[in-house]
């Protein structure tokens, strides 16, 4: 089976090479090779993933294969090797399944784009990079994949590069990611200098054996987390993800919701022996995660761009995952990663279908009443929204409940409290999105309205296929809570760290604390949904529900209570972009200006001064070169005399 592993990333790579080289010539059929390569990769990945899950591969006893010695340097070694354990298996399922569905969806979505072949080539390159990241068995290879997905993200955000905003968003994403990647690179260097190996399993063994001092563990963990913060767009590096929505919607679904942004979560989970040995860093992880969750959720309240709402929602859910990792609920984080991957992918693809239907309009204020015009999209997105809101028994309920329960039971009450609030906020803003888009009266441009149509089958089928796991995934692998299938799968990966943490948790009890928490959360969620329903309109004639939308109520309430600043803050994204602009563009620009001045006046001045002195000296000395032969002869004579006299003075004496 190990020989199948390299096939998983190599198939998309082959697809990328062929599509990249020949795509332009293939014209309308340029998607064929790319899509089939990913489908084949998916099949292989399923075999590998379920083999890994069924055998319970954990740390140190997974299936590994080393292809060749990648960088054989004196004393330094990095191998081109892959490693599959249960965690990799889970990621493989998410990445390849969603990747495949997004590829199929893109056939319809990008059908009329002249750059279609380029798009599919990039998508395949992304699949290769992401799978390389997930499968790599050493840190350097992970880093290679890490940078490659960053590159693909850059290429795909800026896919419509003639649009200035797209080009700038791509640059922003790339630059912000560099900040985090710097941390990751430093972490790799620290690991190499301290442990002398980059192979992950070897590093984990050494760390568990106490091969790293507690200070160094904390430093390495913090640096790794720094990389994760960049890639997973956590506070304070979260600013790039909303702008990344400038890319085509399938890209948003695949890269910026379901896979690449999960890389940070994967990295922290993968390095659980390191993080487990640094409890202080775990608190930082939890704090950053939960802060990002509530920050992003509050911004999502007031955004009007449908994709931006989803982007902030993604930030918020990623924050949940980090909070979960931070409190030690490793499995819950991966659970949420998987379920979120599916329902957020679904929501993004659904929003793409909506945007497609209303003629490339993304502003929700110019939508409304679309429910009956694009029913398949509506139903699937409704499923996704219910799932992300956390209504039982959909996928989001189980995963979110485990996170909150884990935080509560492991003593992180503040994490639980914030997470609880965020759960209600999530339900509210998701149904605000549904209301503004699908319910109430139509605000669509009358000219466009006539052409509203349901998307083609290649686009709706992936929606339906993604709706299935959004509904059933939780029941399938998450039930019964805290001892479901996923827990059995992932136990080999996390059990050592959990045991070393020394935290004993009470078993899950339906009629005890866990059940109580679930009921409280569910009540809050349902309340929030109903509130959003009332405010943004409900129109379900089948069951006789109808209410007029009153979107301005939000503003009225906040203004009346003197809380207007909250509303303004939220719609201004809490001024983070302005802060960055001030810090790095304005002040940074001034600093750069000062440095430039210094460079120009002092450094260039010195260099030019030397040049000027030389030139002037040359101009002065030029007079010596008269061009008259007898002047030179006199020089020779004088030199001769000087030498003779010198000889007398020194030698004869």
């Amino acid at each position: 089976m190990t020989y199948l592993i390299p096939l998983i990333p190599l198939l998309p790579l082959a697809g990328f090479v062929v599509t990249g080289l020949l795509g332009r010539q293939m014209g309308r059929e340029s998607h064929q090779i790319a899509v089939w390569a990913v489908v084949a990769s998916w099949l292989v990945a399923m075999v590998v993933a379920f083999a890994a899950l069924a055998h319970g591969f954990g740390i140190g006893d997974g299936a590994g294969i080393t292809l060749w010695n990648w960088i054989p340097a004196l004393g330094f070694k990095a191998e081109m090797g892959f490693y599959v354990d249960a965690l990799t298996g889970c990621l493989l399922i998410v990445v390849t399944t969603i990747g495949m569905l997004v590829h199929i969806y893109s056939i319809g979505y990008m059908a009329h784009d002249p750059g279609k072949w380029r798009f599919f080539a990039y998508l395949n390159l992304f699949m290769f990079s992401m799978l390389l990241l997930v499968l790599a068995d050493n840190f350097l290879l992970v880093f290679a994949g890490w940078e490659l997905v960053g590159l693909c993200s850059y290429l795909l955000i800026g896919f419509w590069y003639p649009r200035r905003s797209a080009a700038e968003a791509a640059k922003k994403a790339f630059l912000v990611n560099r900040v985090g990647d710097m941390g990751f690179a430093l972490a790799i260097m620290a690991i190499w200098t301290q442990l002398g190996t980059l192979n992950m399993q070897a590093v984990f063994k050494l760390v568990e054996g106490g091969g790293l001092s507690s200070t160094w563990v904390a430093v390495v963990a913090l640096l790794l987390f720094c990389g994760a913060v960049g890639k997973s767009a956590q506070f304070p590096l979260h600013v790039w993800l909303p702008d990344a929505m400038e890319g085509p919607t399938p890209v948003s679904a695949l890269i910026h919701a379901a896979t690449m942004v999960n890389a940070g979560v994967y990295l922290v989970a993968r390095c659980n022996p390191i993080f487990g040995a640094a409890p202080g860093v775990m608190v930082v992880v939890a704090a950053i995660g939960i802060f990002t969750a509530i920050l992003a959720a509050s911004i999502a309240f007031t955004q009007t761009d449908i994709k931006r709402v989803l982007a902030y929602s993604t930030l918020s859910q990623l924050g949940y995952m980090f909070a979960s990792l931070g409190v030690g609920a490793w499995t819950a984080a991966i659970f949420h990663l998987m379920s979120h991957g599916f329902f957020k992918g679904l929501l993004f693809l659904g929003s793409g279908s909506v945007i497609h239907a209303v003629g490339d309009e993304q502003d929700m204020r110019k939508m409304g009443g679309l429910a009956r015009k694009i029913p398949i999209t509506y139903v699937t997105m409704l499923i996704g929204s219910v799932a992300i809101a956390g209504v039982p028994p959909l996928a989001g309920f189980f995963s979110k409940d485990e996170i909150l329960g884990g935080a509560f039971k492991s003593g992180f009450l503040w994490v639980w409290a914030i997470g609880f609030v965020v759960a209600g906020m999530t339900a509210f803003y998701m149904f605000r999105l549904m209301g503004m888009t699908f319910w109430g009266p139509s605000h669509v441009d009358p000219e466009v309205e006539q052409h509203i149509h349901e998307s083609p089958l290649t686009m709706t089928r992936p929606l339906i296929l993604l709706a299935l796991p959004a509904v059933f995934l939780g029941l399938l692998i998450g039930y019964p809570p805290e001892s479901g299938l996923l827990h059995q799968w992932l136990a080999p990966v996390f059990e050592a760290t959990i045991a070393a943490g020394g935290r004993t948790e009470a078993a899950y009890s339906f009629l005890g604390i866990d059940g109580g928490l679930a009921i409280v959360t569910t009540l809050l969620v349902v309340t929030a949904i109903v509130a959003a329903w009332r405010l943004f309109g409900v129109d379900m004639p089948a069951i006789g529900l109808h209410a007029e939308p009153r979107p301005d109520r939000v503003r009225e309430v906040s203004a009346r209570r003197g809380l207007d600043f909250l509303y303004r803050g939220s719609s201004a994204k809490w001024w983070f972009d302005d802060l960055n602009n001030l810090l790095f563009v304005v002040w940074g620009g001034r600093l750069a200006g000062a440095v430039w001045w210094f460079d120009r006046v002092v450094i260039d001045g010195t260099v030019n001064g030397i040049g000027t002195v030389t030139t002037q000296a040359g101009l002065g000395l030029r007079r010596v070169q008269t061009g008259h032969v007898q002047n030179y002869a006199l020089g020779i004579a004088i030199g001769l005399i000087a030498m003779a006299i010198g000889y007398f003075l020194i030698a004869v004496r």
Binding site: H628, V629, Q630
Partner: protein, 103 residues
């Protein structure tokens, strides 16, 4: 006086100094060449004087002096031909007007 090597060498030195002065001071190219001939003669006088007073150098000095005279003849031929060529181009025998190398 005539039986002392020193007097011939001092004579040679004075002749050489006169030749040097002429080479450095005269403006005319042919005058410079004549000064060179004086200096060569001074050197040749030295060679012959050593041959006359140092037994081991006796015949060798005479041979060397003859060779020097031959080479000097060749030098004079080429030097004067060069002066002629330059004179035809620049229409002047004055060395300080050959100034195409100066700014």
């Amino acid at each position: 006086m005539s039986g002392s090597l020193d007097s011939y060498l001092v004579l040679s030195g004075l002749l050489f100094a006169i030749g040097t002065f002429g080479f450095l001071a005269r403006r005319n190219a042919i005058s410079m060449l004549m000064s060179i001939e004086l200096m060569i003669n001074a050197v040749n006088l030295t060679v012959v004087a050593f041959g006359a007073f140092v037994p081991a150098l006796n015949t060798h000095a005479a041979v060397i002096a003859l060779l020097v005279i031959a080479v000097a003849a060749a030098e004079a031929t080429i030097g004067l031909a060069l002066v002629m060529a330059i004179y035809r181009n620049r229409k002047t025998p004055l060395v300080d007007e050959y100034d195409s190398m100066s700014q």
